[in-house]
Symmetry: C2
Subunit: 272 residues, 2 copies
């Protein structure tokens, strides 16, 4: 079973910590932190790294595509093209492979899900957020998340989520949907999906450190005023994101990639 | 007594909340939050607002200069010029006025202090931070602060401060100094100044809301895991910043502006 996750957002929004937290693994063992000078001169990079992991008894080859440099420069106009090109190159490759002789062993490197990190400091979406999602929503499943949500009080999270959703509508941005009006799912699944849909964008806390809370060891962030717990649903939506990505919606993310985004690409290609 | 404070940093770093917290006043009563579309098209603005306040029995005409739009666009190359121009225009005006007939009633609109907000999400200084400070350190007293420091654990604050100071040295950036090696200050003042110097950049939490902690009403941020208190020195450097700005260093900030930055400008002007 293969799955490719792309993670996009400016540096420092907690992306690599989140990926490590999601899969309880060190996807990013050694990261050179670029200093400001290095970041001025670099353009956006695309970095893939794959690991075999086991989730709920299922062996999974998980690939994470990172986009270092996105949004970090003084002028970020060129932030988008390398990412768009990369996503389309995977479609090109798949198209070539599936028209070829050896279709049985086709490798699927297409991006099945793009977690787009929104800063918790914004008053809503920033220009770069709008621009990225408008350019990418017809090419990949976008799931927006609010990174480092432990910077926000519950009231602020509620307000920010509402504002982001308004702006997504205003700009006709199509993000991945959990609910399907014509679906034949059972009552419980439908309620779970509505709950997921109502939680978008997910407010996420990530942590690689374990702290002790009430005699239990949990992943969290230790502040002088208390401990923000990653897996406490009263603190953030981490558990919801993790469950939907790994347990309930992984297959649907792949199906939508195949039936909608790739199909879109394929039709445009054969029409030319 | 007049004092002009400029506040610079990208939107959402808590600047207006800090200004309101510092002077226990509503400098920013009604702020239109620009949506992403409006922010794409706007260039950096310069907004002045003045209030008469009383601090420690002294009446003070405090002017705050805000720089909305700084760092918010996709391309921020033009973020600096409007601010540099504004600072220099105040020097021009003062130069003209002090060479004029009516020197007694000269109005001093020069920027006496620039609080530069650094994001707590950076791994250090970002390209825009370096660029701004390199362009401005010879024109205005820069005091760097880390905004929204309640997003950082004590260990992270320590690490970030050290990294920022290293980068400031690396880039030969001259920020405002609290300690003066040839000063004739008394022992207690010298120790206070060394403590201030050692706390740079100040890690700041700001809040306009009052919460109850142990029976006391304090300004803070109420999280599910605890209350981050603005005026608790164990939580952030707000009290240090406030004391040095209002009680101990306001006069020195004005003196350095007159004797160093303005003098610099004046010499360059008469040499042309
Ligand atoms: N406040 C807060 N800090 C976090 C969170 N997740 C990670 N961090 C810290 O933020 C810093 C940068 O995180 P990192 O995952 O490297 O960010 P990236 O640049 O987006 O990949 C590290 O010091 C983390 O400990 C979070 O959820 N909340
Ligand atoms: N986490 C955190 N949030 C803050 C802090 N100060 C202000 N905020 C919140 O951040 C949002 C934006 O603050 P504001 O002062 O308007 O930011 P500005 O755009 O830099 O002027 C508001 O919802 C504030 O309540 C702080 O110290 N920490």
């Amino acid at each position: 079973f293969e799955f490719t996750l792309m993670v996009v957002g400016e540096s420092g929004l907690g992306k690599s910590t989140l990926v490590n937290s999601l899969f309880l693994t060190e996807f990013y063992k050694q990261r050179a932190i670029l200093n400001a000078e290095e970041r001025i001169s670099k353009t956006v990079g695309i970095e893939r790294s794959s690991q075999d992991i086991e989730e709920g008894g299922v062996r999974l080859r998980l690939t994470v595509v990172d986009t270092p440099g996105f949004g970090d420069a003084i002028n970020n106009t060129d932030s988008f093209q390398p990412i768009i090109t990369y996503v389309q190159d995977q479609f090109e490759q798949y198209f070539t492979d599936e028209s070829g002789l050896n279709r049985k062993n086709i490798v699927d490197n297409r991006i099945h899900c793009c977690l787009y990190f929104i800063s918790p400091f914004g008053h809503g979406l920033r220009p770069i957020d709008v621009e990225f999602m408008k350019q990418m929503h017809d090419k990949v499943n976008i799931i927006p998340v609010i990174g480092k949500s432990d910077c926000l009080t519950p009231a602020e999270i509620k307000k920010l989520k509402a504002r982001i959703l308004d702006e997504v509508d205003e700009h006709d941005i199509k993000i991945y949907r959990f609910t399907d009006s014509d679906s034949d799912e059972d009552e419980e699944t439908r309620r779970e999906n509505e709950d997921l849909q109502a939680s978008i964008p997910f407010a996420i806390i990530g942590s690689n450190t374990v702290v002790e809370v009430g005699g239990k060891r949990v992943r969290g962030r230790l502040y002088p005023w208390g401990i923000a717990e990653v897996e406490n649903p009263a603190h953030c939506d981490f558990i919801k994101l993790r469950n939907m990505l790994i347990r309930t919606h992984m297959q649907d993310l792949k199906d939508v990639t195949q039936d909608v985004h790739y199909e879109n690409f394929r039709l445009q290609k054969i029409q030319k």
